[in-house]
């Protein structure tokens, strides 16, 4: 314990530096950081290039898409402690909304996007309200079932293409001169990055406020949370619905880029992979989850030149990593403040209570 506290800790130092920085420095650092990610597709560096696949495409899918989904799933699994094994279902609902409305109506991507998000959220409420009373393993099994049901339903409805899925999904209309075409993944990546930044912003706001405290309480001790006045079911459903919204948005965008979807793309593996991103990165820690998802999505592409053995290499690397850092690459760790005057709200007279 003691030596851990004294050990030089990059993260604590970085956090302290950030907290002590004046506003202008924070703003300029954020802008530089964000600008870097918008410029990322133009990066041409042998270290990050993905031989055998196109780096710009890889940035959109899988890297960016995994990051977005992992952030969404982290609200459910990391923040509230609800094991959801059917997360892909919401991604599928978003993608199918885009595919069906895109091919059958005159609505464009931007008009379908809110519909896809809304439908995912509705599915989240419908699934969450009855099942989130269950705990732990039971919830995992029910959500796993839900994920499979959505896929199987898609396979069996001929009107939406059955097992052949839907092809000919329209691309989004031009935006600020950026053309969305199958040949150029950059505009898709920029839209995805914008979604992701929005979601990060929302998650951070929630985490610092009442919903964050409610989820912390629920994750740590559901019974006590209830007894301290937290409407636990309501906040669990919210976590579920917000996670669903993120996956739904991802699904709509994904379908508009890939142009044709089949139900088998939305199988259990996707749910498991996204969950692996969350766990690998550091469950509950936003930055860890982002890093974990980026690494898990990028590495198999980067080592594609190994062809067949690459999945084996990847698997071994995962096992080694999880042994070295069982709580993830950047584990969730709350910083403690020992300063007695920390956050002192204006002095209240002599410790009286009203």
């Amino acid at each position: 314990m003691a030596d851990k506290k004294n050990r030089y800790n990059i993260r604590d130092h970085a956090a302290t530096y950030w907290e002590n920085s004046p506003k202008w420095r924070r703003v300029s650092m954020s802008i530089a950081f964000i600008a870097f990610f918008y410029a990322l597709p133009f990066l041409n560096n042998p270290l990050v290039n993905t031989p055998g696949s196109d780096f710009q495409s890889v940035l959109f899918y899988p890297v960016g898409m995994y990051v977005l989904m992992a952030i969404g799933l982290n609200i459910v699994v990391g923040k509230s402690g609800l094991l959801d094994l059917g997360y892909v279902a919401f991604f599928a609902i978003g993608a199918y909304t885009m595919a069906i409305l895109g091919t059958h109506t005159a609505l464009n991507f931007w008009e379908i996007l809110p519909i896809g998000i809304a439908l995912s959220m509705v599915a989240g409420v419908l699934l969450g309200t009855p099942t989130l009373r269950l705990r732990g393993d039971y919830l995992a099994i029910v959500t796993l079932g839900f994920g499979e049901i959505v896929r199987i339903v898609a396979v069996n409805i001929e009107a939406i293409g059955g097992p052949r899925g839907i092809a000919g999904i329209p691309t989004p209309p031009d935006l600020f001169k950026a053309k969305f075409t199958i040949l150029d993944p950059k505009p898709y990546y920029w839209v995805l990055l914008t979604f992701t930044l929005l979601v990060i912003w929302m998650v951070r706001r929630m985490a610092a406020r009442r919903p964050g405290r409610a989820w912390d309480a629920i994750r740590q001790d559901d019974d006590v949370a209830q007894l301290m006045g937290v409407n636990t079911l309501k906040y669990k459903v919210w976590a579920f619905v917000l996670g669903a919204a993120v996956a739904g948005a991802g699904g709509v965008l994904y379908a508009s880029q890939i142009l044709s979807i089949v139900p088998d793309q939305f199988n259990l593996n996707v749910s498991i992979l996204i969950l692996a991103c969350v766990v690998f990165g550091g469950i509950g820690n936003l930055w860890g989850v982002i890093l974990g998802a980026a690494l898990l999505a990028f590495t198999p592409e980067r080592i594609r030149f190994l062809s067949q053995p690459r999945i084996l290499v990847f698997g071994i690397a995962l096992v080694v990593m999880m042994n070295l850092r069982p709580d993830g690459i950047l584990p969730k760790k709350k910083r403690e403040h020992f300063d007695p005057n920390w956050k002192s709200v204006e002095e209240s007279g002599e410790g009286e209570i009203k």
Binding site: M206, D216, W238, I353
Partner: protein
């Protein structure tokens, strides 16, 4: 003084074959410090669990300011004005002391997820108020210097006090304390007694489970005694102390030394 805040009528609580409470009648009047004592396994904690909605009684009624508590959700009971601490400390160990208390203070906020995302004026106002209330209560319980430390890393005594602060943060009319002095040394017990009095003087009503007789005799206005799930006495401390049935209950099954 005689206005009944909490009233249990003929409460029976069975767990399978075990009858933890049998036909218990009990009340707490507004503004008093009432105590609930009895040997180990007498059913004291079960009373708290029935009152706070953790268990639904097998039969009987629980009324709080004239409203039935039975069948209410736990968070609704807390909202109605009953808060508690736990015999085995159950803090949110991975949250800071301040966050623990503010979680309690959140009960009376109206804004939730949407307010938090958009930073609505109401949300900002409520956040600030809850934070201030949290700091106020930490200070009241002598924990201000612990605000930024994790619940699990606090010394034992501070954890117990933090539980009281967290319960008070919900602005309860009735505060239920389950063995708040367990594991305390005599000096800490004296300080706790003073704190409980201060809480009462601030307008809260307290129902307290305790094993330490001198503490009970010192601070309580009224003492109810449970033995094997039945109430065997209920009176001012002096009378209860000399009640032969109470003495027998304790001699027959001596309470632990704490």
């Amino acid at each position: 003084m005689s206005e009944k805040l909490l009233e249990l009528k003929n409460i029976t609580m069975k767990f399978g074959g075990v009858t933890a409470l049998s036909e218990v009648n009990l009340h707490v009047s507004k503004g008093e410090i009432a105590a609930l004592i009895g040997p180990n396994g007498a059913g004291k904690t079960t009373v708290f669990n029935v009152v706070t909605g953790v268990y639904k009684p097998t039969s009987g009624e629980v009324n709080f300011v004239g409203q039935s508590v039975v069948g209410k959700k736990r968070y609704q009971v807390t909202k109605m004005g009953i808060a508690r601490t736990f015999q085995n400390i159950r803090l949110f160990g991975e949250s800071t002391a301040l966050e623990n208390v503010v979680t309690g203070a959140d009960v009376h906020s109206k804004s939730g997820v949407v307010g938090a995302i958009f930073g609505t004026p109401r949300s900002r106002r409520e956040e600030a108020a809850a934070l201030e209330r949290g700091m106020e209560l930490l200070e009241f319980m002598g924990l201000k210097h612990r605000a930024g430390q994790l619940g699990k890393n606090l010394p034992y005594g501070d954890q117990r006090r933090l539980e009281i602060a967290r319960a008070l943060a919900t602005n309860p009319q009735l505060l239920l304390l389950d063995e708040p002095a367990a594991g305390f040394n005599p000096a800490e017990k004296v300080a706790l007694a003073a704190t409980i009095r201060k809480i009462r003087d601030a307008g809260y009503t307290v129902l307290l489970i305790e094993h330490d007789m001198s503490l009970i005799m010192d601070i309580s206005d009224r003492v109810a005694v449970l033995d094997f799930g039945q109430k065997i006495a209920d009176d001012v401390p002096k009378v209860v102390q000399n009640d032969p049935r109470v003495i027998e209950a304790y001699l027959g099954a001596p309470a632990d030394a704490s």
